[in-house]
Symmetry: C2
Subunit: 338 residues, 2 copies
C-alpha cells in the first residue's frame, strides 16, 4: 500500500473533500495530514470513523512517504501558491505528488524541474486522456442496473453515497462496480475519467465509454454524479453525465440545511422534490429513469434523533425511501433500488 501525506491546510476536515474521501475510502496508507491550523492533533479528534493519522504543520515535519496528495479541491481547480513550499519540500525528498487540479503540476516549470532532478513523478489525475470522442447513445444497452447519484448542489455527498452503495452491494454478494468521475473518486478507484476536465462535446462520450467498459460484466454500476442540474457553474458537467450514463435509477443526494448553492449565496436551491421532476424530465427522452431513493448528508447535525427526524422529513418530501448512508448505513437505499 502506498504511504501518503495529505495536504489540507486550513480546510480540514470539512472543506478538504479529497483528503476526507481518501481517509474514508482510499487504498492509501495515510501517514500524515498537513494542516497548519490543526498541527499536533490527530485525524480521529476531528473526524471519527475514518483512517487515523497525525497532523503536521508542514511537509518538513512529516515522516517519509511515497507521495504527497493535494487533498483540497478549490473551486476552479487552481493551484494555491501557499502550497508551493510543501510541494517543493516533498519533491526535494524525491516524493511523488498526486494532484487533481485543473492547473497541471506538470506544466509548472519549477515542479517539473525539481521532479526530474530528484527522480519524483508528478501525477495530474485531472488531465484528460487523448482519444475521447462524442457519445453514440449506447449506454442504455448495457446489462447492468446503472444507478447514478444526482444532487441538489455540489459537495453534498454524491461520491460517498456511490462508494457506500457499491461496497454494500458487494457485501451482499452482488457484482457491483463504482464508476468514478472526479479527482477524488479516481484516486480512490485507481481509474476513471475526470469528467469536469473533459471538453464539453466529449463529456457524454467519456461517460458512455466507462459504462460500456464495466456495464456488461457487472450486475450493478454505481456512478459518481457531479454538481447539480441547476448549478450556476457546473450544470454542464451534470447534464452530460446524466445523458451519457443513461441510468436506470437515480439517488437524490442533499445536505440537511443547505439552502443556497455552495459559494453562490444569491442562488436559492429549489425544494428537494422539484429536483425529481428536473432530473426525470431531462432523462426521459433518451432513457426514462426515476429517483428511487434519497441520501441525506446529516454530518452537521450532532444529535442522532434529530438526524433521523431530518431523514424522515426528506423521505416524505421525496416520496421515496431515504437515509444517511454514512451515518446509518446504505441498506435502505439498496433495498429501494432492488
Amino acid at each position: 500500500m502506498q504511504r501518503v501525506a495529505l495536504l489540507a491546510h486550513d480546510q480540514f476536515p470539512h472543506f478538504a473533500k479529497t483528503a476526507v474521501g481518501l481517509l474514508r475510502y482510499g487504498l492509501f496508507d495515510v501517514q500524515a495530514v498537513i494542516d497548519r491550523g490543526n498541527a499536533g492533533k490527530r485525524v480521529r479528534e476531528l473526524l471519527p470513523g475514518v483512517q487515523d493519522a497525525p497532523i503536521f504543520a508542514s511537509m518538513s515535519d512529516a515522516p517519509e512517504v511515497d507521495a504527497l496528495v493535494i487533498g483540497i479541491a478549490n473551486p476552479g481547480g487552481g493551484f494555491a501558491d501557499e502550497w508551493r513550499d510543501d510541494v517543493r519540500t516533498a519533491l526535494r525528498r524525491g516524493t511523488d505528488i498526486i494532484a487533481g487540479l485543473h492547473d497541471f503540476l506538470q506544466d509548472d516549470e519549477e515542479f517539473a524541474a525539481l521532479a526530474v532532478e530528484h527522480g519524483a513523478t508528478l501525477h495530474d489525475v485531472r488531465k484528460p486522456p487523448r482519444g475521447l470522442s462524442v457519445s453514440k447513445g449506447r449506454a442504455r444497452d448495457v446489462k447492468a442496473n446503472v444507478v447514478l447519484t444526482v444532487g441538489t448542489d455540489c459537495a453534498v455527498g454524491k461520491m460517498t453515497v456511490s462508494l457506500e452503495l457499491a461496497r454494500a452491494a458487494q457485501e451482499r454478494g452482488e457484482s457491483a462496480a463504482f464508476i468514478p468521475t472526479g479527482q477524488t473518486g479516481i484516486m480512490i478507484a485507481g481509474w476513471g475519467y475526470p469528467i469536469d476536465a473533459i471538453v464539453s462535446d466529449f463529456v457524454a462520450g467519456a461517460m458512455e465509454e466507462m459504462i460500456l467498459e464495466k456495464g456488461n460484466d457487472h450486475d450493478w454500476l454505481f456512478v459518481e454524479g457531479q454538481g447539480s442540474i441547476v448549478h450556476p457553474a457546473y450544470s454542464a458537467v451534470t447534464c452530460g453525465i446524466l445523458h451519457g450514463t443513461m441510468p436506470d435509477a437515480l439517488v437524490l443526494c442533499h445536505e440537511e440545511g443547505r439552502k443556497v448553492s455552495k459559494g453562490f449565496d444569491d442562488f436559492l436551491l429549489p425544494a428537494a422534490h422539484e429536483y425529481i421532476k428536473l432530473y426525470e424530465d431531462l432523462a426521459r427522452p433518451l432513457h426514462p429513469t426515476t429517483v428511487a431513493a434519497g441520501a441525506l448528508n446529516t454530518s452537521k447535525i450532532a444529535d442522532e434523533d434529530e438526524a433521523r427526524a431530518a431523514i424522515d422529513r426528506y423521505a416524505e418530501t421525496l416520496g421515496v425511501p431515504a437515509t444517511d448512508p454514512v451515518r446509518f448505513g446504505p441498506e435502505a437505499i439498496l433495498d429501494a433500488l432492488a
Copy 2:
C-alpha cells in the same frame, strides 16, 4: 477582405454548415468552393441567396487565395484524411488554413512543417484559450436583453437565426450584438469562445465572460445556441450555455420534418412544445425565461405555401409567434421579443 477557398467535398451545400454559413454571413471574399462532386458548377446553382463562387474539384484547380477554410464540421470534429491533399497544396502555395476542428492542424506534424517552410499560418479557431474559469453566476445582471436560440436538435439553424435577428435589430437602429459559440460563428464574427471545445467545468464561465463583455454596452444580445438539451451527445454544451448565459428570452429552433436526432436514428425527438417546458424549467431556478418565439427551418420544403402552412402549425403547437427567418425574414420573431 480576405480571399478564401472553402473546402466542402461531397457535403455541399446541405451538410457543409461552415461553408454555407460563411457564404451567407461571412466577411470573407469567397473565391472558390472545393467540392469534387459539384466541380464545374457555381454556388448559386445549388444555393440561392448567398455569395456566389465557382466550384472546383481540388485546391490545385482553384485560384490564388489568402486562406483555405475547412468548411465541413464532422461529428466529433476529426480531420478526414481525404482533405489532406488539398491542405498540402494550399500550404505549398503559402496559403493559410483556417479550421474549426477538435483535431488541431497545429498538432499535425506534416502541416506544421509545411506551414513553417512556406510561411503560412494554421488557424485553429476551436482551440480554447487559457485562463478560463468557473462561472460566478453574474450574466443575469447585464443591461442588455439577452436572447438565446435553443433547439430541438443540432443543425437546425440556431446560428443562422441568431445572426438574422442581430442583423435585423441593427437595421431597426437597435444596439445589438451576435454572441458566437461555435467554429462557424467565430469565423463569421471574428471573435468568441468555441464552447464545445472548452472543458465542461468552464463552459458556463466562458459564456458568462462573453455576456459580461458585451452585455452592458448593447441593448440586445443574440446568443448562438448549440445542440439540444436532450441531445444524446451534446446536451452538456447546451446546458452550460443556458445556465452561463442566463437569457431573458429563448427562440426555439426546429427543422420541419426532423423526427429523430440527426445521426442518432434511435432517438425520437420529443414534440416541439415539450422542449418549451424542458428549457424553461431548467432555466427557472437561476434566471426565469420563456420561449418567446419559434424559428422553423423550412429549407427542405420547395413550395412556399407548404412552408407557410408548416410555420403556422409550428406556431400553433408552441403557442408563440414563429417564422422561417431565412425564407421570410426575422421580423415576426423580433416583434415577439420586443
